[in-house]
Symmetry: C2
Subunit: 196 residues, 2 copies
DNA sequence: TTTTTTATTGACGCATCAATCAATAATAAT
DNA sequence: ATTATTATTGATTGATGCGTCAATAAAAAA
């Protein structure tokens, strides 16, 4: 029962399936059949639309990055002050959409894969730069450039670190605690005063 | 020319080879043959001593953890004050022995693998707890328990985050800068004052 | 000196997957 | 009505890699 115009539908379904498969397995060691099965199609079709597995994984990472970006833009629109822009970046990073085990597992797995794939590494660098620049867009309105830069660096590392620690699912901070930690750091750096 | 008592020698060589192989490939997707080759033996011998690949990887992670631990103990012996104990933990984390691409790649890869392997996850939790407790051993002498706990959490996340960002090898902080970032955070939290 | 233990490997079986391809069918274009 | 295009899959191929095993040889024990 082949209808026409299936391509975008299948692509989306396959990317979603890839995310959930990676999320469940916790790594990129998922087979094309597994992914295709989740998307309700054959593995041959996945190859038909994406060519090779690499490309499907690449498209998936790009999709995750794009989602993060739109979420951030949306949050920026609601932020009036520089300080609020900074908080917006933090809030989005730990929002329900982003700070969930599936996405975190994917991030982690892609970080590892980036060691092998130049293209993936380039993609993750774009993320790193964008995060930095998003943070700077608020911080430069509050601190002198050099110090803003250092704070942005630390904040980004803090966010990444909290992500990785979440992956262990131990006495791990939930989103609320994570946000509080980062905000506490920011408060200290921006006001020279920490929470009581 | 089989000499006797080769077992410990081979084990060590295989673990070292595993680290360097993982470091080069950037992931745990290294074959037993590759590892064995680097160690100058056949893959059959690797299986002979470690049984399965899992066990070799596990032994490798345990070795890395043990090294980190002895380094930390040594640094603790030179630390007089609580404040120095905290700095010692940071210094060891970014020492030449630990903060090198091979080891970092291994950490990252093992974090991913921990999603699948319960035993590996347990091992990494031990690391997380030990790091926390090592930080606390200094912090509790400076801050009230609750706050010390939060600072330890943030510091640990900061360290992990700087590790992960190093893996991208981009505008990445070198060891010096990384230490400065963490120390700056600690100074702010402990003195309520940041670097000029 | 014979036997057992330790060290070591090449070759092989077996399973897993990525990727291809030929075949089928429905829709659209001519 | 015929041809081309799009959608789809089952079956197959080829490669890769883990784990095993029988075979060889040196040392240690008997």
């Amino acid at each position: 029962m082949p209808k026409i115009g299936m391509e975008p539908v299948r692509r989306k379904a396959l990317i979603d399936a890839t995310i959930s498969a990676i999320g469940e397995r916790g790594s990129l060691d998922v087979t094309m059949s597994e992914i295709a099965g989740r998307a309700g199609v054959s593995s041959a079709l996945a190859h038909h639309y994406f060519g090779a597995k690499d490309e499907l994984l690449f498209a998936t990472m790009r999709h995750i990055l794009a989602e993060l970006n739109t979420d951030t833009r949306r949050a920026f629109n609601l932020a009036g002050t520089p300080r609020q822009r900074v908080s917006a970046v933090v809030a989005v990073s730990f929002s329900d959409d982003q700070f969930q085990s599936q996405i975190i597992a994917a991030w982690l797995a892609f970080y590892v894969e980036a060691q092998k794939s130049t293209e993936l590494r380039r993609l993750l660098r774009i993320y790193a730069r964008r995060l930095h620049s998003n943070l700077m867009s608020g911080l430069t309105g509050i601190l002198p450039r050099t110090e803003a830069d250092r704070v942005a660096e630390a904040t980004a590392a803090l966010i990444d670190g909290l992500y990785i620690r979440r992956a262990l699912k131990d006495g791990v901070p939930d989103a609320q605690t994570a946000i509080a930690l980062v905000e506490d750091y920011l408060e200290t750096k921006l006001n020279g005063r920490s929470l009581p």
